[in-house]
């Protein structure tokens, strides 16, 4: 262990320390030495109740010193009002010195009083900051009653400004007390849990003082000695509060740690602790205990040597000597965790933020406050908002969180019919072949459900699958997938969703949940780490998603997946809600509703997921974060303006759907751009956790705080209906959310109804460009009232009944998303062949064609190759599972892509697609998956898994009768021209399809060939039925 001498340092500790079993008896003598004769005592009710103040008063017997006044109403948080009130009492009583008796609050209050008295001003805010106090102060003697804060030797005071809801920080050498009295009698009544928490506070002071930037050899000596004392005495003091030797040792440890950090300062553990204390009212010592191992782990990249150095005082010489140097830092963290576990068992000291009563919704605000905390300056490693959220998320854990290496490989199979459940264990082969998330979900569905079933029958299943990255803290991995047979399309649908449910399910120890069968009565399902409970949902039926969610997630650490009235009433495009995110497309909500299941509640936080190969994971995560931070789309565009930023490029390039896809741009289109919405509605981030892109936002709409609508919503519920008013669209978005309806299909269906009304096919009050009647109609759909019940079947069903199939803009029954494919032929092909129907996310070639201008949007060449590749890649992404937006960063930021000149990159992609695809570096996704699962996989095997997933889904659809005849676009998109398209282009769909089938290895009828299925190892469960 090396001793460090910084190029410059300061150390100042003039406090006289008196330590002993009856040290207080010297109080009168010390006052005399300070030329004081009339002290005022500042304490709190707890100290008085414990009888401790009597011990202090007793020390003045026979001394001739009169105590001027005893103020015993100090609140738990020192406040300006209290400080000013005490100052008046001090002056009125003619006192000449201060004695603080208590914990941090009483001591800080006394320091605040000293400022007011000395500066003769009751405006404390004038002196806020570092080293602003210039005058010598009144003598202050401190008698601590806890062993943790170290305030008796620190130059810091924190006073709460209750009017401004702000904590004022004062640091000055003048604030240091003259004398600190450590008397064991004053600590002997401290309860075990407070003893433990304050002891961990002292440990965090010593450890952070030692590893942070302002370290110096004198502080180091104090810190190391404090840690040794804590090692030998903290557990003893917790077990037996009457052990006076242990108490005295802990008092000295806290005092020395205080002297250390008063001169060396502290770092991120305290930044997070201050923030969680101020916003979630977690006691400081508890917060320190929770964050300490996380903070040490976070600082490993720059402070491993010094963290390793802490092993000697923490573990003792034997452990230190037998631990190889490279492992000492990790061993230190392990011992801190062991100590926490011991204290947890002895007195229930919380191990996680969940146990400390913090709500997950508070984490964003805590992270923001933490990065603005002054301690952070001294932390060895930079911590930004995303890093803080990552650490908070790791610390969130749950009651009794236990570490789990890699995925649990346990999938819950729940049958509401019989109210039974069983566990499916995922084999290594399934994991390698289908990765997790969407891929594994499809495989589990395929193995269990016959083709030809009615999607709303009890034979159908819903499979909800968080991926292997969920819970590891990898960027943008707060997402999960769900798979079912869609009642809207009659074929498979897979949907992806953020929100808290995935994390809760995963940290409850489950890699997925399968719901099959049908309950006789209305229920909701509660999933715990070791059991499933079926609850009556009679009183929840009919509630909106937000109401139901609030009712079902009262307990800390729980999260719900709920349906709204639309799901209950079989609306074919009903979605499922998790927080403020949705399993949007294909009618998953209706399938759950058909099973009489209002929702699923997961009680998470039991499991902490660790990657199997931590070093490889850290490396991959670092690269991932660096790519996200340097990519323009992920670090600026989406972060600042959300997905609605797409409106700019779609409107400018004639692919924004206007009036049921009758046109591709509109003069008012920019009113719906992300920039306009962000500026007009004062947007603030509101994103999935963990997320490093932060595309989700909330804003103020006519006084209400609502999510800023996504691009697909402003496209389909806005421009596609001829409406360009953000306030109106946000309100419709809210209604859809509460009813539980997909905004894309809802918008597509409304557009058909408006045009059918114009053309006289039906009668309704809905008109393009007129908001009137839309809100009522949305409720009618959700509650299946009147014509709303028919609208709830979707545009294909309406067109089949009333005519107007030419302008029913759907593919395979699913309404098309907000990119008009007549302006990007790759997107046209992608819509036509997407497995779930009119879906933009299957390959998203519009980004390459229009957004980045790398592929000519109107040429056939290269499209099939890129779409097949992107479908495979996105199947991988949705199986890890992470956000698809990461592809902007992970695929475009690796050096070869990033530094190839744009024109050259475009030329190669357009003209030599196979070569271009070979050069694309998507290895980061593979690295993340492999490091978490511990299973080595080559990039070729990885992308083949994506291909296998896509082809399996296609094969499942072809078993339902899907083929080339269905890989088609609606007549409007294939044969109608738009006014704004002067070239009058038509989509060459046949040519595109021919090439695509060839690239894919499908037969001419669009079905996967036997050879292809055999190559990918997709087995036919029923021989000869292919």
């Amino acid at each position: 262990m090396n001793t460090r001498i910084p190029p410059y340092y300061e150390f100042h500790n003039p406090v006289k320390i008196i330590s002993g079993h009856k040290a207080l008896e010297n109080l009168p003598f010390e006052l005399e030495q300070l030329a004081a004769a009339r002290p005022m005592i500042i304490t709190d009710k707890g100290v008085v109740r414990a009888g401790l103040i009597d011990i202090v008063k007793g020390a003045f017997a026979d001394s001739g010193v009169t105590i001027g006044a005893v103020f015993d109403e100090t609140p738990p948080d020192s406040s300006v009002e209290t400080v000013n009130e005490i100052s008046k009492i001090y002056r009125a009583a003619g006192c000449d010195s201060l004695i603080a008796v208590g914990g941090g609050s009483a001591i800080d209050t006394a320091k605040g009083v000293n400022i007011v008295i000395t500066e003769k001003s009751d405006d404390l805010s004038r002196f806020m900051g570092a080293e602003m106090l210039k005058k010598p102060m009144k003598p202050l003697i401190v008698v601590p009653t806890t062993s943790g804060t170290g305030s008796e030797v620190t130059l810091v005071a924190v006073i709460n400004d209750t009017k401004k809801s702000m904590k004022m920080l004062f640091t000055s050498y003048h604030l240091l007390p003259k004398v600190a009295v450590l008397d064991t009698r004053m600590m002997s009544t401290m309860p075990p849990r407070i003893t433990a928490a304050t002891g961990m506070d002292a440990l965090s002071h010593a450890m952070e003082a030692y590893i942070c930037l302002q370290n110096n050899p004198i502080s180091d000596a104090h810190a190391l000695a404090a840690i040794s004392l804590i090692r030998d005495n903290l557990v003893k003091a917790v077990k037996n509060g009457k052990d006076v030797d242990a108490r005295l040792a802990m008092a000295n440890a806290a005092c020395m740690a205080g002297a250390a950090f008063s001169n060396s300062m502290v770092g991120m553990v305290h930044s997070l602790g201050h923030a969680v204390g101020s916003l979630a009212h977690v006691p400081h010592g508890v917060a320190m205990s929770i964050f300490l191992p996380h903070g040490l782990r976070y600082n490993l990249p720059k402070a491993a040597e010094w963290i390793g150095g802490l092993l000697l005082p923490l573990g003792g010489p034997e452990i230190y000597a037998t631990t190889p140097q490279a492992e000492r830092a990790h061993k230190t963290i392990e011992l801190v965790e062991d100590l926490r576990e011991t204290l947890h068992e002895l007195c229930g000291l919380p191990l996680t933020l969940t146990e400390a009563g913090v709500d997950r919704d508070q984490l964003e605000a805590v992270a923001e406050a933490a990065i603005n905390d002054g301690s952070l300056v001294f932390n060895p490693v930079e911590m930004d908002l995303h890093d803080a959220l990552d650490v908070l998320n790791q610390a969130y854990g749950g009651e009794g969180a236990r570490e789990q290496s890699g995925p649990s490989n346990r999938v819950l199979e729940v049958d509401p019919t019989t109210r039974t459940w069983q566990v499916h264990h995922v084999s290594e082969m399934e994991r390698r072949a289908y990765l997790g998330g969407k891929g594994l979900g499809l495989k589990l569905y395929y193995d269990r459900v016959e083709p030809g079933i009615d999607p709303l029958s009890e034979e159908n299943m819903v499979v909800v699958m968080p991926g292997v990255l969920m819970g590891t803290g990898a960027p943008c991995t707060g997402r999960f997938a769900a798979v079912t047979k869609s009642p809207l399309t009659g074929i498979m649908t897979a949907s992806s969703c953020g929100g808290p449910f995935g994390m809760a399910l995963k940290t409850a120890g489950w890699d997925g949940i399968i719901i099959k069968g049908k309950s006789e009565t209305k229920i909701f399902i509660e999933v715990d780490r070791d059991k499933v409970t079926f609850h009556d949902a009679g009183d929840l039926w009919g509630l909106t998603t937000s109401e139901a969610q609030a009712r079902m997630t009262g307990e800390k650490g729980t999260a719900a997946l709920v349906i709204g009235p639309a799901g209950e009433n079989g609306v074919r495009f009903a979605n499922v809600r998790s927080g403020d995110r949705f399993l949007g497309r294909g009618g998953l909500g209706a399938v759950l509703g058909s099973k009489n299941v209002k929702g699923i509640v997961a009680k998470g936080g039991y499991t902490k997921i660790l990657p199997k190969n931590e070093a490889a994971f850290r490396k991959a995560k670092k690269r991932a974060l660096s790519y996200i931070r340097s990519n323009d789309m992920t670090s600026r565009v989406l972060r600042n303006f959300g997905t609605a930023s797409n409106t700019e490029f779609t409107n400018n390039n004639n692919i924004l759907p206007v009036r049921n896809f009758q046109d591709g741009r509109h003069d008012e289109g920019m009113k719906l751009s992300g920039r306009t919405l962000a500026e007009k509605h004062a947007s603030k981030p509101h994103f999935c956790i963990p997320c490093s892109i932060m595309c989700g936002h909330k804003g103020t709409f006519e006084g209400k705080s609502l999510p800023i609508p996504e691009y697909e919503t402003v496209g389909l519920l806005g421009s596609n209906l001829g409406v360009f008013d953000g306030d109106v669209i946000a309100e419709w978005n809210r209604i859809c959310a509460d009813m539980g309806m997909d905004t894309i299909s809802t918008g597509g269906t409304f557009a058909w109804v408006m045009e059918a009304t114009e053309k006289g096919l039906i009668r309704s009050e809905l008109r393009f460009g007129e908001p009137k009647g839309v809100a009522d109609a949305l409720y009618d759909i959700g509650y299946a009232r009147g014509f709303g019940a028919e609208m709830g079947m979707g545009s294909r069903a309406l067109a089949e009944k009333y005519g107007g199939e030419d302008f029913a803009v759907h593919v395979k029954g699913m309404e098309v998303s907000a990119y008009d494919p007549r302006g990007c032929f790759g997107q046209a092909l992608s819509y036509a062949v997407a497995n779930r129907g009119g879906c933009h996310l299957s390959a998203y070639p519009v980004a390459l064609e229009v957004l980045f201008g790398l592929l000519n949007p109107f040429r056939v060449g290269a499209k099939a190759d890129f779409i097949a590749f992107l479908e495979n890649l996105y199947c991988c992404v949705n199986s890890l599972q992470t956000c698809q937006f990461t592809a902007f960063a992970y695929v475009f930021e690796p050096p070869l892509t990033k530094y190839t000149p744009h024109f050259l990159l475009g030329f190669i992609m357009q003209n030599l697609p196979k070569a271009a695809l070979r050069l694309i570096d998507f290895g980061l996704y593979r690295d993340l998956w492999s490091s978490v699962t511990g299973a080595p996989l080559s990039c070729k095997e990885f992308i083949t898994a994506g291909e296998r997933i896509h082809v399996l889904e296609r094969y499942m659809n072809t078993r339902e009768g899907i083929g080339r005849k269905d890989d088609i676009l609606p007549p409007r998109l294939l044969s109608e021209y738009r006014e704004s398209d002067e070239q009058r282009r038509t989509i060459p769909l046949d040519a595109l399809l021919d090439r695509y089938y060839k690239v894919r290895g499908y037969a001419a009828d669009g079905k996967p060939t036997d050879d292809l299925l055999a190559r990918l190892g997709i087995e036919d469960r029923r021989a000869g039925s292919r």
Binding site: P6, P7, Y8, Y9, E10, M128, G129, A130, E131, M132, M166, L169, L213, Q214, M265, K302, A369, I371, N372, D373, G374, L376, V377, F378, N379, P380, V381, E382, S626, R629, S630, N631, D632, S635, R636, N640
Partner: protein, 175 residues
């Protein structure tokens, strides 16, 4: 007049270093004004600071200063006048200011070595420090920044335009 054997010594001046500090303050002031117009990260950071808020960096006790005003969602450089400010970040002496402002040591090290003190709301000082870090990312090449910062601010291609704007328009014209 009789000469004293032990005469009082009036304070001297460190003319060159003070001149350099004034120049750096000028470049920083103009640079921050420009970055607050062009750099989205600086804009986002500044959103939490109230309008009309003044921030001053100065050399104690009576050296050079740089004052900025939060105005119209950006920062306005007010020059080095002796204005009152809600947040004052002071270098304890000319040498400390010179070391930090000429990138010999970083801001975190400056704080750790007690060379800088803060008067005012610390949270805003943290926000301001992050803005200064972003500006440093624009002004200095990465081999210098790597020495003085804990982590380099991301500098993607689009930020190169911001850098050019700061150099070409920001520092000379405050645009």
């Amino acid at each position: 007049m009789q000469e004293l054997k032990f005469p009082p010594i009036p304070p001297g001046t460190k003319r060159l270093k003070t001149l350099i500090i004034r120049m750096v303050f000028f470049i920083m002031g103009r640079g921050l004004q420009s970055a607050s117009m062009h750099d989205p990260d600086v804009k986002r950071e500044l959103a939490s600071i109230p309008e009309g808020f003044r921030i001053q960096m100065r050399v104690s006790p009576c050296g050079a200063a740089m004052t900025l005003l939060k105005s119209d969602a950006g920062l306005r450089y007010l020059g080095g006048g002796p204005e009152d400010a809600e947040l004052t970040i002071s270098f304890k002496n000319t040498e400390s200011a010179f070391m930090v402002l000429t990138a010999q040591i970083g801001t975190p090290q400056g704080f750790a070595e007690h060379r800088i003190s803060v008067a005012g709301i610390l949270a805003y000082a943290m926000v301001f420090t992050r803005c200064v870090n972003i500006l440093m990312g624009h002004l200095f090449p990465s081999f210098i920044n790597r020495r003085i910062m804990k982590r380099l601010p991301p500098m993607p291609l689009r930020k190169q335009w911001v850098r050019i704007k700061i150099y070409a328009l920001g520092v000379p014209f405050g645009k």
